[in-house]
């Protein structure tokens, strides 16, 4: 049975066949080119028609060549002229940009509420919701229901800090409650993290009961939701956090942290007993994060809405590559349906201050160019560390420098689309006198 094919298809039929020439082939019948060109031709249409005609000519030439006809010698430059690339169109080719959304992102990230108001049995003025995303952060595929939030660090005793950070806290360093007030009232913290580092047996070995009093003071001093952190000592933390959870009963704090290297069951139980949220902390390892989340849910009966993850933050230039990719993988896995990873994430962004570039007066290396004043260098280290992780999917930032907090809020809310600012004309940026 005869089959009709177009000229252009004839060419492509031979494409992969290593055909040098066709022999004994005849084309029967007429080749008709119907073109109804009226008067008053629109230049753009004329261009398009010209383009079409040239393409047809190109196909015919190709076929002639396949048939063994000496096209190149005969047409010479004329055949060349049909090859695209040597002419300048008279008009821009019309085009419309389109792109699809990502269909695989079907599984929303778990929403987790931090803090409890009086109607929920707590004393916070308002609550904060993390999670709920249906796409990577700030992506057009789906609106991001909640902006990122920042919780600022407060310590229960004076600690060593980079100079650029320390100058902001010298007046409150002896009082966690005053410190907490300052970060909320002066620096715009959405939340406060109270770190009970003095409980470490190697530091002051403060008793869990004393530590719980500090927590009570902070809860009294501010009305934002709080995070309670231990000292990081795996033997002491369960006991400290149990006591702290008890004193904060009903406030729905974030308990930091449950990890695989301590008795996480005790932390989980303290959270469920007193109505708090557990921070599930692992060190830059996606499978460990899955394992811990699974254990919290299956073994300790922690509800999904009571889990936030901290997959660990390494500072810019000091392993941020691992932290960034780890978080992005976790978020992508959660979005496409991994129920063990679809939780909001928190970052210890303060770790950025461990980087030498953030605090050292200058480079220890004489070959380096000048590092510039550290007062400006330090904060931007914390900003870029947090910003990078915000793009990977991080929801909550633990931070220290007020300037860093302000800038990170500005950029994350700009990307979130919730910040009104004047539009700037960028069409002539080249000539800007700056």
């Amino acid at each position: 049975m005869a089959k009709n094919i177009k000229l252009s298809e004839l060419g492509s039929l031979f494409n992969d066949m290593d055909v040098e020439s066709l022999e004994g082939v005849t084309i029967e019948g007429d080749i008709e080119l119907d073109m109804d060109i009226g008067g008053g031709l629109d230049p753009q249409l004329a261009y398009m028609l010209g383009h079409e005609t040239a393409q047809i000519a190109q196909h015919l030439i190709n076929i002639s060549r396949l048939l063994g006809y000496p096209v190149d010698q005969l047409f010479g430059s004329m055949a060349q002229a049909a090859v695209p690339g040597l002419t300048r169109p008279g008009q821009l080719l019309p085009s419309k940009f389109e792109v699809n959304k990502i269909e695989e992102w079907k599984n929303p990230i778990q929403e987790v509420i931090l803090g409890a108001t009086s109607s929920d049995g707590g004393t916070r003025k308002s609550t904060i919701t993390l999670g709920g995303e249906n796409a990577l952060p700030y992506y057009f595929d789906s609106p991001m229901p909640h902006r990122n939030h920042i919780t600022m660090d407060v310590f229960d005793m004076p600690i060593g800090m980079a100079k650029a950070v320390k100058v902001n806290y010298e007046d409150v360093i002896e009082s966690p409650a005053e410190w907490a007030k300052k970060v909320v009232n002066d620096f715009g913290a959405d939340m406060v993290t109270i770190h009970l580092i003095s409980t470490d047996p190697g530091i002051k070995d403060t008793s869990p009961r004393e530590a719980a009093e500090t927590v009570a003071d902070v809860l009294q001093a501010v009305d934002v939701p709080i995070v309670i952190g231990g000292s990081g000592n795996p033997e002491k933390d369960p006991e400290v956090l149990e006591k702290a959870a008890e004193v904060a009963e009903g406030e729905r704090v974030l308990l930091a942290s449950a990890s695989l290297n301590l008795d996480y069951e005790r932390i989980a139980k303290a959270a469920t007993d007193y109505g708090h949220v557990v921070l599930s902390w692992t060190q830059l390892e996606i499978n460990a994060q899955k394992e811990l989340n699974r254990k919290l849910m299956k073994q300790c009966n922690v509800k999904r809405e009571d889990i936030v993850m901290d997959p660990t933050t390494a500072a810019l230039g000091y392993g941020l590559d691992y932290a960034y990719t780890n978080m992005e993988r976790i978020r992508l896995a959660g979005l496409i349906g991994d129920e063990e990873l679809s939780f909001p994430m928190s970052s210890g962004t303060t770790n950025a201050w461990g980087a030498r570039e953030a605090w050292m007066v200058g480079s220890p290396l004489k070959e380096d160019s000048d590092w510039g004043p550290r007062e400006y260098r330090g904060p931007i280290w914390e900003i870029v560390t947090g910003l990078t992780l915000s793009l990977a999917g991080n929801d909550l930032f633990m931070m220290m420098h007020p300037g860093s907090v302000a800038v990170l809020k500005e950029i994350t809310q700009s990307l979130h689309g919730s910040l009104e600012r004047d539009a700037v004309d960028i069409s002539d940026w080249v000539t800007a006198e700056v």
Partner: protein
């Protein structure tokens, strides 16, 4: 690339397992083509005439989704684009975003020369090499072709870095090209208004070109399709970098959409490298510190999400340092941990009285310690213990660094303390302090603990060395 399994590549290879590529089999070679660690040209037989068709077909199948564009000539040539993935963990991002620092044609000659000298020489040590700036963008702020020509002449005479000639006036661009066309500068930019004249320039001078269509992707795509029609493949797209508010969010979305269209949907007429202009931060901030901070923030955002070239203005180290580090962070190959060869390195000219330090083979840790020791003029031996590229703290916690292991490592590497030292003493990092007893038992050596931060070793030495 249009193929993703070694088998698909294998079909086009000679299949002789000749080993000329250094791999045992053609299948092994094929898998390296997929992960882009080897190139087609590494297979000598494939370059022979009889395989020409297969070679061409394979080259087409393996071409990256985003075109690779070269700017400049010689050893400073910058390649941008060439990516195949949307997320770093899927493979790796290729070709770090090029950082171009601006100069402008209303600068005095002295200022211009001084700024270019700074751009040429700026460097920051990081894991065994120096992070540097890549390009100079020359802006015509005067709009005067003669002034521009003069600035381009001075710039070209003072740097070997590739140039971007920036003006929306084709006459100005032409005057710059007349001076430096042979250096293959990139032109910025063709727009919907000037594209015909700019097209003549790129055809005549054969240079890469940026297409600029702020906040209008239909027109950007039209421009790209039109220049493709003219046979121009070395294109870079600038969809506009709005500095603040909701229009910044839209710019961010535009970068995402273009890259998704190019890589995920294979839309060839939009699959070009992207250019971001963080210096628009200066249009929105009067205070120079705020402006440079915000410029750094914008540069970071577009480094993470798909900018391939950045034009920046600030040369303050507090802006440049994080910009250089963030692009290294995002573009480090996640397939290979950054580590150094485990061995006993000599710092300076150590002798029998010199200290012996221990660290890990995580490149960042090693180079930090090494550079601290070297810059303090401490002659010593330094063991980079094989910890699979983990830092000290993680290696001690994870058991990759134990007293026994460090002790065995010295033996394996043939470092005999009784022969090499007169003191039988080894110095562990402060973060490995808890290995002290373990290490003494395993090695029989005297074990000392240095401060956790190697920057303090020089001070520590005053009280702790030589050992009593």
């Amino acid at each position: 690339m249009k193929v993703n399994s070694p088998l698909e590549v294998y079909k086009f290879l000679p299949q002789t397992n000749c080993g000329d590529c250094g791999e045992a089999t053609c299948m092994a070679f094929a898998s390296h083509m997929i992960d882009r660690s080897l190139k087609l040209e590494d297979c000598p037989p494939l370059l022979e005439d009889k395989f020409r068709k297969k070679y061409l077909k394979l080259a087409e199948l393996l071409a990256p989704e985003i075109r690779e564009v070269m700017i400049g000539t010689g050893e400073h040539t910058v390649s941008v684009g060439g990516d195949d993935i949307l997320y770093r963990h899927q493979l790796t991002f290729f070709n770090q975003p090029a950082l171009a620092v601006d100069v402008w044609d209303t600068m005095s000659e002295d200022e211009l020369v001084e700024r270019i000298k700074f751009i040429n020489e700026y460097k920051k040590f990081y894991v065994g090499r120096f992070l540097k700036l890549d390009m100079v963008a020359i802006r015509s702020t005067s709009g005067d072709p003669d002034k521009f020509k003069q600035a381009v002449t001075i710039a070209a005479g003072n740097t070997e870095l590739p140039l971007i000639l920036c003006s929306l006036d084709p006459k100005v661009l032409k005057s710059g090209l007349e001076v430096v066309a042979d250096k293959k500068p990139m032109l910025y930019a063709a727009t919907k208004d000037n594209w015909q004249d700019v097209a003549d320039l790129v055809m005549e001078y054969d240079v890469p070109l940026v297409l600029f269509s702020p906040d209008d992707l239909d027109t950007l795509k039209s421009l790209a399709a039109t220049f493709l029609e003219m046979g121009r493949e070395d294109l870079v797209l600038d969809p506009g970098t709005n500095p603040q508010g909701k229009s910044l969010r839209e710019s961010f979305e535009n970068f995402l959409m273009i890259r998704r269209a190019g890589i995920r949907e294979g839309q060839r007429d939009i699959a070009f490298p992207l250019l971001a202009v963080p210096m628009t931060a200066y249009l929105a901030n009067d205070d120079p510190v705020s402006a440079s901070y915000w410029e750094t923030v914008l540069a970071s955002v577009f480094t993470v999400r798909y900018g391939d070239i950045m034009i920046v203005h600030s040369i303050e180290p507090y802006a440049l340092l994080p910009e250089l580090h963030i692009r290294d962070t995002i573009y480090t190959d996640p397939r290979t941990p950054v580590k150094v060869d485990p061995k006993v390195y000599e710092v300076g000219s150590p002798d029998k009285d010199s200290p012996v330090f221990v660290t890990t083979n995580f490149a960042l840790t090693y180079y930090t310690v090494e550079s601290d020791l070297a810059s303090s003029g401490i002659d010593c031996y330094l063991l980079a213990t094989d910890t699979d590229g983990l830092g000290v703290e993680a290696a001690v916690a994870g058991g990759q660094m134990t007293g026994q292991k460090v002790s065995d490592e010295f033996k394996r590497l043939g470092f005999d303390f009784s022969e090499m030292t007169a003191h039988n003493t080894v110095i562990l990092p402060g973060l490995a302090a808890r290995l002290q007893g373990d290490m003494e038992d395993a090695s029989g050596l005297k074990v000392k603990i240095r401060p956790p931060d190697s920057g303090r070793i020089a001070g520590w030495m005053q009280n702790h060395w030589p050992p009593e």
